[in-house]
């Protein structure tokens, strides 16, 4: 029986506000592996999907940014736990999507799990590392804390479909931002599958929203969106064009978005990430209060 059983294929969907909708376009695009063999269809997300995702992210922002750092750490650790339980599945996804051998793919999944753990541990430490008390010359208590920037659009790296995605997404949400992620156009399936991990990980709906679709069609809308506070251009191109770094920076200027520019070529995501990506999406807030009786 089993050899004749027809496999049940997964319909990949977007992940917006904690739900799994189809694209409002009603369209999909064919995703292939690195050798152009068809893998599956991915939703062809549009500017309207991006708009809905931003609304969901904004709605989730007060709760997530207002949660205690400890609580966010617990949730991020839960993501790692859920991913760990699906190592095999994601090794297959990554292997297919990136065209790497299964062992290499598994190592990449493990690194992604470990990265979630790393950022889970950062949530209640960054304020001490990046903030502090300021010794002002007067009778005032004065301190600075890093605060979440708000809704952050993330153009996920093109190649590293899960570890790269994790490396750009986890630092954004660790500090209390909510995210709208546009998955790698070429390799979106691990990201879309990863949404299923998030859905069972105590991550409140809307904190992470995942879209797939053409970079050139969706990214400019995210870059120009007035209710997006920051954008990570990790997946953008340095070469001229509608989704180029330059054009997206220009679009982002309209509401003073914080822009994290990509490196010249996609970095080695296994390297120590440091705190840079977290700090890129925080705002230092300084509070003054007189001291007197």
């Amino acid at each position: 029986m089993s050899e004749t059983r027809l496999a049940v294929n997964k319909t990949y969907k977007l992940y917006i506000g904690g739900a799994f909708p189809r694209s409002e376009s009603g369209r999909v695009y064919a995703v292939t592996d690195t050798k152009d063999r068809p893998l599956a269809n991915a939703p062809r997300g549009t500017r309207k999907d991006a708009r809905d995702a931003v609304v969901a992210a904004r709605k989730a922002y007060p709760g997530w940014s207002g949660a205690t750092a400890f609580n966010r750490g617990q949730v991020l650790y839960r993501v790692a736990e859920m991913l760990e339980g699906r190592r095999e599945q994601f090794a297959d996804e990554v292997s297919a999507a990136e065209g790497v051998g299964r062992n290499k793919a598994l190592a990449s999944v493990d690194a992604a799990v470990d990265r979630w753990v790393w950022y889970a541990g950062w949530t209640d430490k960054l304020a001490q590392v990046a903030g502090g008390a300021n010794p002002v010359a007067g009778p005032y208590a004065n301190w600075t804390t890093p605060e979440a920037t708000g809704v952050v659009a993330v153009l996920a790296p093109r190649k590293s479909s899960l570890l790269g995605l994790t490396s750009v997404l986890a630092p954004v949400v660790a500090t209390g931002n909510t995210a709208v992620v546009l998955a790698s156009e070429q390799a979106p399936l691990p990201a879309l599958a990863f949404a299923e991990v998030l859905a069972v990980s105590d991550v409140p709906g809307g904190v992470v929203n995942l879209l797939s679709g053409p970079l050139a069609e969706v990214a400019p809308w995210l870059a120009a969106h007035q209710d997006v506070n920051a954008i990570d251009l990790a997946g953008a191109s340095h070469t001229a064009g509608v989704a180029s770094v330059r054009d997206l920076e220009i679009a982002a200027a309209d509401n003073l978005k914080r822009v994290l520019r990509p490196e010249a070529k996609e970095p080695d995501w296994t390297a120590d990430p440091g705190v840079g990506r977290m700090l890129a999406f925080t705002e230092a807030r300084t509070v003054w209060h007189p001291t007197g009786n």
Partner: protein, 485 residues
């Protein structure tokens, strides 16, 4: 009293007490300060800077063109090699020297600032110039401690910094830009505002007096076009700008795709929230300081008063009573509280926005001030009956104009305070500590003053959320803007 005849109180009017102008010696004309020397602009262009309190021309100042900016950037690039290679401890000593020279020339600089800007001498003397010296002193100490600043073991300077500063705190903004840049090992090309170039030019002379190597600091005076040249110059690695949000956006578009590192400190429309349990006398002082300090020409000015309805009438009574004691007039007079508006253009802008408040039906109250016959002046003004929909509640007026709104609950106060594209600063007044902190936590602003307002310190980071810009100036955070981190 049983033995004395009851006498009515006597009028105590203060005689004029002008600070002497003899401390300053303004030349009739100034060149650009490039590579350690003053020189005319290549095309000989000049502009006149005037005393806004009298409209008297103070000096002619060169207008740097593209060629001049290029020469300045080249000088800065050349100086960068040696300056960045100096041991941090040596750079520190130059900055300490500069800090001390500023202190020594404090009175002169205060008078010069007041003449060129129109701000009261009390402010330039007690706030601006002491903070300038303190800022250099603070960052001097960082120069040989960069490895301990939390940016890795060996952070590097960026190179040549192009810096464009506004006219509201001319020398303080210069200090905020130059001190951290130099401490980190960068060299700078700084363009002061066209209406307030004089203290920057005097600072150039102080650099010479301090023996600062040529080319480390270059001062290129001029107007918007000069600033554009500085920002767009391909060999500028870092752009630091303080000014309007509109120009900030223009800079972002200009530099898009170039990889230039940016810090922008832009406009604001700060809410000053007064709860019903505030120390009201202090709150009134804070409101006054928040919006009438420097004639309200402050990006972090508390221009939106959000007062809890249950004390609104009383706070307004107290406020208008207090505003009646403000002394508007000669900025050099030591008793002046409200000086001149910096320029005719700024006065026009204020006047236009105030007219919009009238048109949109807000109620205007004007402090009873005699307006001097010459110069640019605007009396302290309070609008009541303002809602979030009024232009005067949304747009930065950059003048002595307060918009008063009311709220009923803490949640409503926070919501209204945050309901703006800006996010530079905010104020909170309550004697209840828990409520002050709860509110501060929720305000989307880079600086929150609780039970105080408009305090600044070199150790305290300053900068905005949202459209008020990004990057911080002051303290350890301020170093980041000038390091390759």
């Amino acid at each position: 009293m049983s033995n004395t005849i009851s006498t009515p109180g006597k009028a105590f009017e203060y005689a004029p007490a002008p600070e002497s102008r003899s401390a300053v010696d303004i030349a009739s004309s100034y060149g650009l300060f490039i590579d350690g020397k003053f020189a005319e602009a290549a095309d000989g262009a000049t502009l006149k800077t005037v005393n806004p309190a009298t409209e008297e021309v103070l000096a002619e100042v060169a207008v740097g063109g593209e060629a001049d900016v290029d020469r300045a950037v080249k000088a800065a690039r050349k100086a960068f090699r040696t300056w960045s290679a100096l041991p941090g401890s040596e750079r520190a000593k130059y900055l300490f020297r500069i800090a001390r020279l500023i202190q020594e020339h404090g009175r002169e600089l205060a008078v010069l600032e007041t003449l060129d800007n129109g701000k009261p001498i009390r402010e330039s003397r007690d706030v601006d110039i002491p903070l300038v010296a303190a800022h250099f002193f603070h960052y001097a100490g960082w120069a040989d401690k960069l490895a301990h600043a939390g940016f890795g073991p060996d952070p590097k300077p960026l190179g040549v910094a192009g810096q464009v500063i506004p006219w509201n705190f001319p020398m303080l903004m210069l200090a905020w830009k130059i001190a951290p840049a130099l401490a980190a090992g960068n060299t700078v090309v700084l363009k002061p505002a066209e209406t307030t170039p004089l203290t920057a030019l005097r600072f150039a002379e102080i650099c010479v007096e301090a023996g600062l190597p040529a080319g480390v600091v270059n001062i290129v005076t001029g107007a918007g076009e000069t600033g554009r040249s500085v920002v767009a110059h391909p060999d500028v690695d870092k752009v630091a700008f303080t000014g309007s949000t509109a120009v900030g956006k223009e800079i972002l578009r200009t530099t898009a795709g170039t990889g230039k590192k940016l810090t922008l400190e832009l406009g604001g429309k700060a809410a000053n929230i007064v709860y019903d349990d505030a120390a009201l006398d202090s709150a009134v002082e804070g409101i006054v300081n928040g919006i009438f300090f420097n004639q309200g020409q402050v990006c972090c000015a508390g221009s939106r008063l959000l007062v809890q309805e249950s004390v609104a009438d009383e706070v307004l009574h107290m406020l208008t009573r207090r505003l009646g004691t403000l002394r508007l007039g000669d900025p050099l007079d030591k008793n002046t509280d409200v000086g001149a508006i910096n320029s005719a253009a700024q006065l026009d802008r204020i006047t236009r926005l105030v007219a919009s408040g009238d048109d949109e039906g807000a109620e205007r109250w004007t402090a009873p001030c005699e307006i001097p016959a010459k110069g640019f002046w605007f009396p302290p003004t309070v609008f009541t009956g303002v809602t979030q929909a009024h232009r005067i509640a949304r747009e930065e007026i950059f003048g002595p104009v307060l918009s008063v709104l009311t709220f009923r609950t803490p949640a409503e106060a926070v919501e209204k305070a945050n309901n703006t594209p800006y996010g530079l600063s905010a104020g909170v007044w309550t004697e209840k500590g828990a409520k002050a902190l709860w509110t501060a936590q929720r305000l989307r602003a880079g600086v929150v003053w609780t039970n105080t307002f408009n305090r600044f310190d070199p150790a305290s980071p300053f900068g905005g959320f949202k459209e008020s810009g990004f990057g911080r100036e002051g303290g350890r955070h301020g170093l980041e803007a000038y390091l390759n981190v």
